[in-house]
């Protein structure tokens, strides 16, 4: 057919010896048509990003195409010379990346970086290029495009940077746009805007888009075609509605089933217990010190009052910079607030010195976001878990026994105890993190984005584990997340935060059915695939 833009046939990408498998991508066939968005979906390590990079010949060293072809405008890109590829890159195929901060050169202005594309591929003179840059920035709906062109990447917000990246990728009206998780690093409301922008530009220019994502919500919002990649093998491909509503392959079915629904699941109401942890008008301000004049100050917490009861899960939901993590850290005394009080189990712990804080620490433990960075790579698992109890005076032999017992509780084999963190997957590490937090027999668990770094199938398992342990051990759980879908799954009450304040705090069911604050409503509307998720939830068996 004439409107086929890209034809990937039998593509195999070999990995260097010693990798976990021989080929990152194995015999992949995919056809992209003009004016269509094709989502390539897969979990981490599925080879989706490498497949996309292979199109532009941007594979990392020692990774290469070993078989198959990538036909674009009558040319096989796998056999193109560097000079031929350079002509296509930027001009005929544009690309945007996950993290717009690092994808832009921090030392060059936005305008200069977009202008670069024009000076490589066109013969426009400097003035014409400058005018075109401003026009391009206006096209992606950036305010004051002339000022943005003069700005440096660090002076813009994440959403503005990604818009600038899109302007750069589409500068020469390419036939194909490759988008590698372009919204993953963005806040949910920004993500919705960027998705809308990509959709709008792609429709008006008739561009074919290869959109890499791990999020089925995003797929539901933007895709025309969907292709699912499992460990380098394309297991299912087809039109969006067919794949989403009637998945054929078992893997696709499992992935879709694991996507957290935008609905409050049926569960037994939690008995409201005594107040375990309380923040009373907590206020925290960050001041920039300056020699000349007064520094700017940022209010991270603006007189926040919230209570966490025994046996309850309280969700703190907000976008980056909303103060949700600051509040969690303030309530665990990992940082000291300027005014207000923090009360843990009846004891005021706002300002007591670190030395006296130690007995209280035992009652309150944290689970961190990044399961890779939060475990000491040189410590055996059993030592990671037993360290806390030993510090608090438990005999080492007893602490080790408790550690091994906890591994069973979080669903890991007891043999894991004698291994090192690098031998475990992300999900397993997060289980280890939970076991470590439980080792001190705390009464309150504070989980800061505990599932945000995990694949969706693993995410569901870890959430289920957390809910199960909380119920069994009668714990209170403070759950910090940016993802409303996740919060709905696990929380009894949800506090929505913005600019360091709680804008709405209500029972999960109430906040879902009748959000009061406009910001809460905006958050719900911005959840990727909201419409699809709600329809799914309605159809799902109770």
């Amino acid at each position: 057919m004439s409107d086929v833009v890209l034809d990937i046939a039998n593509l195999t990408i070999g990995l260097p010896p010693g990798a976990d498998r021989a080929a990152a991508v194995q015999g992949m066939n995919l056809m992209l048509r003009a004016g269509e968005v094709t989502c390539l979906v897969g979990e981490s390590g599925s080879g989706k990003s490498l497949a996309a990079r292979a199109v532009l010949g941007l594979l990392p060293p020692r990774v290469g195409v070993t078989a198959g072809s990538i036909m674009f405008e009558g040319q096989d890109l796998t056999k193109a010379t560097p000079a031929q590829l350079a002509k296509i890159r930027g001009a005929r195929i544009g690309m945007i990346f996950q993290e717009p901060m690092t994808a832009l050169n921090p030392l060059h202005s936005i305008g200069r970086q977009i202008e670069e594309v024009l000076s490589i591929h066109t013969s426009l003179d400097r003035r014409a290029r400058r005018e075109k840059v401003v026009a391009l920035l206006a096209d992606v709906h950036l305010p004051e495009p002339a000022r943005i062109a003069r700005s440096f990447p660090h002076q813009l917000s994440g959403g503005q940077r990604q818009r600038a990246m899109i302007a750069m990728a589409l500068a020469l009206d390419p036939k194909l746009l490759i988008a590698d998780e372009p919204t993953t690093a963005l806040d949910v409301t920004t993500q919705a805007q960027i998705l809308h922008l990509i959709h709008e530009l792609q429709r008006s220019h008739g561009t074919a888009v290869l959109f890499i994502t791990h999020d089925f919500g995003v797929v539901a919002d933007i895709a025309d075609q969907v292709a699912v990649l499992q460990r380098g093998v394309l297991v299912e491909a087809g039109p969006r509605d067919a794949v989403l509503n009637d998945p054929q392959h078992a893997y696709t079915q499992a992935l879709l089933a694991a996507v957290p629904r935008l609905v409050v699941p049926q569960r037994a109401p939690t008995e409201p217990g005594i107040v375990m942890l309380e923040s009373i008008k907590a206020r925290k301000e960050y001041r920039q010190r300056s020699l000349f004049g007064r520094g700017r100050s940022t209010v991270a917490l603006d007189a926040v009052s919230v209570t966490l009861r025994r046996g309850e899960t309280l969700g703190l939901v907000g976008e980056s910079g909303s103060g949700k993590s600051t509040l969690a850290r303030a309530m665990t005394r990992l940082l000291t607030i300027d005014s207000g009080d923090i009360v843990l189990d009846g004891d005021e712990i706002t300002r007591i010195p670190q030395r006296l804080m130690r007995p209280h620490r035992q009652k309150i433990q944290m689970i961190f976001q990044d399961p890779y960075a939060s475990l000491n790579p040189r410590q055996r698992i059993v030592d990671v878990i037993a360290e806390g109890p030993i510090i608090h005076g438990l005999p080492p032999a007893e602490a080790e026994a408790r550690a091994r017992e906890l591994l069973g509780l979080v669903g890991l084999d007891p043999s894991a105890a004698d291994r090192y963190p690098h031998e475990f997957s992300g999900g397993q590490r997060q289980r280890i993190g939970i076991a470590r937090a439980l080792a001190l027999r705390p009464q309150v668990l504070v989980a800061d984005e505990p599932v945000s770094a995990l694949d969706v199938s693993v995410q569901a398992q870890v959430l289920a584990l957390l809910a199960d342990i909380k119920a069994r051990l009668q714990l209170s759980l403070l759950f910090v997340t940016h993802d409303l879908r996740v919060a709905l799954q696990i929380c009894d009450r949800i506090a929505v935060m913005r600019h360091g304040a709680i804008v709405e705090l209500a029972d999960t069911a109430d906040i879902y059915h009748s959000p009061q604050h406009p910001y809460t409503k905006a958050l719900f509307a911005a959840v990727p695939g909201a419409a699809w998720l709600q329809k799914e939830a309605a159809h799902a068996p109770p």
Partner: protein, 323 residues
């Protein structure tokens, strides 16, 4: 505008440092046994108590310490750093006469080490794991390990004594009476060997740091972005990576400016270069305390100034640094 404000901020921090050096200097003088009057009296050979007392009064040494301190600071701010009785000349004049050659030697060595080191580092990183990279690595390692005084002597043996290409020592050949352009060529010929001896160690250091810094940039996302734009590898290296990779090298070079002055003492002595280094060496041998402290003050101020210049360069190169 904000950059200049940031620079002003840095400048404001530098002034107390210079003041601190002055304070340290003053109390070092006080710590030394005896005072200038007894030294002067001893020098003159007629150390009668009346004469010493008269000298004390003349130089204000009988006044309270605090008063002396403020007088000292006031004098220093007018570049009056005291009198060198050994050389029978004001300290500041002595230093001023030697400052030019030292600055010439230091800045030449520093500039050459920085530019060549950066270039070699880029070359090694671009040709990573090739024979060129290996060669550069081996040569830098040797330069890194060679003591400066030994290198200086070997240069003299090879290029002056055996090959007779370059003059063994000195700043210029006064006997020839060169003028204008010819004189500068002559100074340049004298400069080659001491400059090499002083700069080679730093050249090796900057090469290694630049190579590592470039390799770190290779994996950055913005490099992939540039490639995805269709930019050539050459322009990616020089247009994008070079400046990013150079920033850590520049920061380190600024920190090391002080070592460079220390290194010039050895080099100037070996090559008979009439700079601050030889002056300091002689002052040390003849226990000329006033002169030594004057050199201390001037070279410390020099380090502060070099650091400010590096700071200015950094904020020009990196738009992220702002007040």
């Amino acid at each position: 505008m904000r950059r200049w404000r940031y620079f002003g901020y840095r400048l404001a921090f530098a002034l107390p440092v210079v003041f601190g050096i002055l304070v340290l200097n003053f109390f070092l003088i006080q710590l030394a046994p005896g005072d200038a009057a007894s030294v002067l009296a001893g020098e003159s050979g007629a150390a009668s108590p009346e004469y010493t007392a008269m000298l004390r009064e003349k130089f204000g040494l009988d006044r309270p310490l605090l008063e002396q301190f403020w007088a000292y600071i006031g004098n220093a701010l007018q570049f009056n750093l005291g009198y060198s009785f050994r050389n029978d000349s004001p300290v500041f004049e002595l230093i001023l006469a030697r400052l030019g050659p030292t600055l010439l030697l230091m800045l030449t060595a520093f500039g050459a080490a920085l530019t060549l080191g950066t270039a070699l580092g880029v070359l090694a990183a671009v040709a990573r794991n090739s024979w060129r990279d290996a060669l550069i690595s081996v040569v830098t390692l040797i330069c890194y390990a060679t003591p400066v005084f030994w290198l200086g002597l070997m240069l003299i043996v090879v290029f002056s004594v055996n090959l007779n290409w370059l003059p063994t020592s000195g700043f210029e050949n006064i006997a020839e009476g060169y003028e204008g352009w010819e004189r500068w060529v002559d100074i340049g010929r004298h400069l080659i060997m001491p400059g090499t001896a002083l700069g080679l160690f730093y050249l090796a250091l900057y090469t290694r740091v630049m190579r590592a810094s470039m390799l770190e940039q290779t994996g950055m996302d913005y490099v992939t972005t540039a490639r995805a734009k269709g930019q050539t590898e050459r322009k990616i290296v020089f247009g994008h990576m070079l400046r990013n990779a150079f920033l850590p090298v520049l920061t380190m070079a600024g920190v090391q400016a002080g070592n460079l002055i220390g290194g010039s003492v050895v080099v100037e002595t070996v090559f008979g270069w009439p700079g601050l280094g030889t002056l300091a060496f002689n002052a040390l041998q003849s226990r000329d305390l006033n002169l030594l402290l004057g050199i201390f003050f001037i070279s410390a101020s020099l380090v502060v100034i070099i650091n400010l210049v590096v700071e200015l360069l950094t904020i020009t190169l990196d738009p992220r640094i702002q007040a």
